[in-house]
């Protein structure tokens, strides 16, 4: 069995963990520099504030009652690290899927005790970090995602929802789940599925896998198998929500060589940047993570991650590689043999939407145009002449490094001079 654990309203929950007075208030987290809403509390959603809305366009009445904060990536990165450290106590096999979502291998756990195991995990994370999480448990990643959604939406599950491959509950749930709400089914694919008479997840599950492969792709066929309870999709191949891009890979053999890790992180960052440009997005932050192998048991263990905010939303490989390199330097420790490292691009924004932002620091049109042309050329060469025909050398030295983040809360867990203050009187 596989569990998907995710933190509810992650950025907002991190802020609330250190400022209990924010509980119950409409809270929004803004991107640095361009001031768009990148995270909303339930209360802020209820006020009708859309994801990505620029702060300066919000009605004054909403700006008055809402608490709008700059993003505090140092805090979110540290809390993400803590959550994963706790998850590692519940399974030797933790795969980070995004800053607030991880898959856990639950192999070998008695089916009858899965729910209790999930509840214990949830309570431990809540107790140790103050963050609320939901747990979906199922035989495949795609079903675990469905289960996680149920755990979040149906209070009766109390945050933990186990879903078997073949049960009345599973059928009931999949019959009511529109196929476009499944992981990795884009709206256009959904329209084509509808033409074939497939509207729900259950109908997709019942479809002939070979027919689905012919009409769509191997990945869609795998989705059918996943819905039936047969694991078929790897974490790297999961179609990605458009809010983040993950590139990670295990090393062929364990390595403790910093140069191996540096090369891998640069390569992952370059791949992620390509994906980012292909979907026409820009990233606002880069997360880097690495870990040792849980085996052999007894070998020194280390896992860490860090989030590096970008000065402005960017799809320029040079910015992304530079940030990824600084992130790696901050968390790399010698004396360990690493099994895996990865790069994640966070809080993506579409290239067009960004033009609307007025608050943004001015980057001259010439510079932006030059960067876009350069990246387009690089992507074309790599596409036509083979991957890695053009690679990036050392980071440039002139990266601008001034973040606009007046509304940022203290970096409670990563700076001595910004610790949480508690009154004795």
């Amino acid at each position: 069995m596989i569990a998907l654990v995710d933190v509810n309203d992650f950025y907002v929950s991190c802020e609330r963990a250190f400022a209990p007075r924010l509980e119950g208030l409409p809270v929004g987290v803004l991107s640095n520099n361009d001031g768009c809403v990148v995270a909303r509390s339930r209360e802020l959603k209820a006020l009708g504030v859309a994801m990505g809305a620029p702060m300066h366009l919000l009605p004054p009445a909403i700006r008055r009652q809402a608490v709008l904060l700059s993003s505090n990536y140092a805090l979110y990165g540290d809390m993400s690290r803590r959550v994963n450290a706790i998850l590692a106590e519940f399974s030797p096999d933790v795969e980070v899927y995004s800053i607030d979502e991880s898959f856990l291998g639950f192999a070998g756990i008695e089916p009858a005790t899965l729910e209790a195991h999930g509840q214990r995990l949830r309570e431990t994370v809540r107790r140790d970090t103050g963050l609320p999480v939901c747990v979906g448990v199922a035989p495949t990643r795609v079903l675990a995602k469905v289960a996680n959604r149920l755990a979040k939406r149906q209070p009766a599950f109390e945050g933990v929802c186990p879903l078997e491959a073949d049960s009345d509950v599973t059928r009931h749930v999949l019959e009511r789940l529109p196929v476009v709400e499944l992981w990795g089914v884009a709206r256009r694919t959904g329209e084509r599925l509808a033409l074939m008479g497939i509207d729900t997840a259950w109908q997709l599950r019942q479809a002939d896998p070979a027919r689905i492969r012919r009409a769509f792709s191997v990945v869609m066929e795998r989705l059918v198998w996943e819905l039936r309870g047969h694991p078929a999709i790897d974490i790297e191949d999961l179609a990605e929500p458009r809010q983040r891009i993950l590139v990670s890979r295990s090393f062929g053999r364990l390595t403790g060589e910093p140069s191996d890790l540096q090369a891998a992180v640069r390569q992952h960052a370059a791949r992620a940047a390509e994906k980012l440009r292909r979907q026409g997005s820009l990233a606002r932050a880069v997360q880097v993570f690495l870990r040792t192998s849980p085996f052999p048991v007894g070998a020194p263990q280390y896992r860490n991650s860090v989030v590096v905010p970008l000065a402005r939303p960017s799809a320029d490989s040079r910015d992304l590689l530079e940030a990824a390199g600084r992130g790696l330097a901050a968390i790399l420790r010698e004396g360990y043999r690493y099994q895996k490292c990865g790069v994640m691009l966070l809080d993506l924004v579409s290239g067009q939407a960004r033009q609307l932002s007025l608050l943004e620091e001015v980057q001259s049109e010439t510079t932006r145009g030059r960067s876009q042309r350069l990246m387009a050329t690089v992507d074309r060469l790599n596409r036509e002449m083979g991957r890695d025909t053009v690679r990036f050398g050392l980071p440039r030295q002139d990266s601008p490094w001034a973040l606009r983040c007046e509304r940022r809360t203290p970096r409670y867990t990563t700076r001595w001079d910004e610790l949480m203050r508690v009154k004795t009187g």
């Binding site: 867990t413 949480m420 004795t424 009187g425």
Partner: protein
Amino acid sequence: MSFAARVCVSGRAVLGSGGGAQPLMGCRVRAGFPSPADDHLDVEIDLHAHVVRRPASTYFVRAEGDSMLGDGIHDGDLLVVDRSLEPLPGRVVVIAVDGEPTVKRLARLGARTVLLASNPRFAPIPLEGRECQVWGVVTHVLHALPGAAP
């Protein structure tokens, strides 16, 4: 029980990450038979590991005010808080009272749980009728004396 009686312990204190380690003055006096467990190699004494038992749930916070002086907590002291520990009566806790994080000692007064300041000028605070959420248990206080780096 072991027959070895330790009078004082030798070891090295860690001077913070990156800094060199420096031997503490010390000696070890034994009486009776040496225990095989003492054969392991001493490397260094790690204050962080001593104070932070569970890194994922341990946070550092800064105290403000003087109502907990009796518990050794001065204005500006650094507190080590472990969120995984149970808030039992007698423990000093960080607790959000009406949304405001506060340090107090938990106590039982008859059937009621109250918060005590260690300064007698402050009356016990009953928890009933307030929005209260224990945040964590304070395990250590780090108080800087004259001469300490700021």
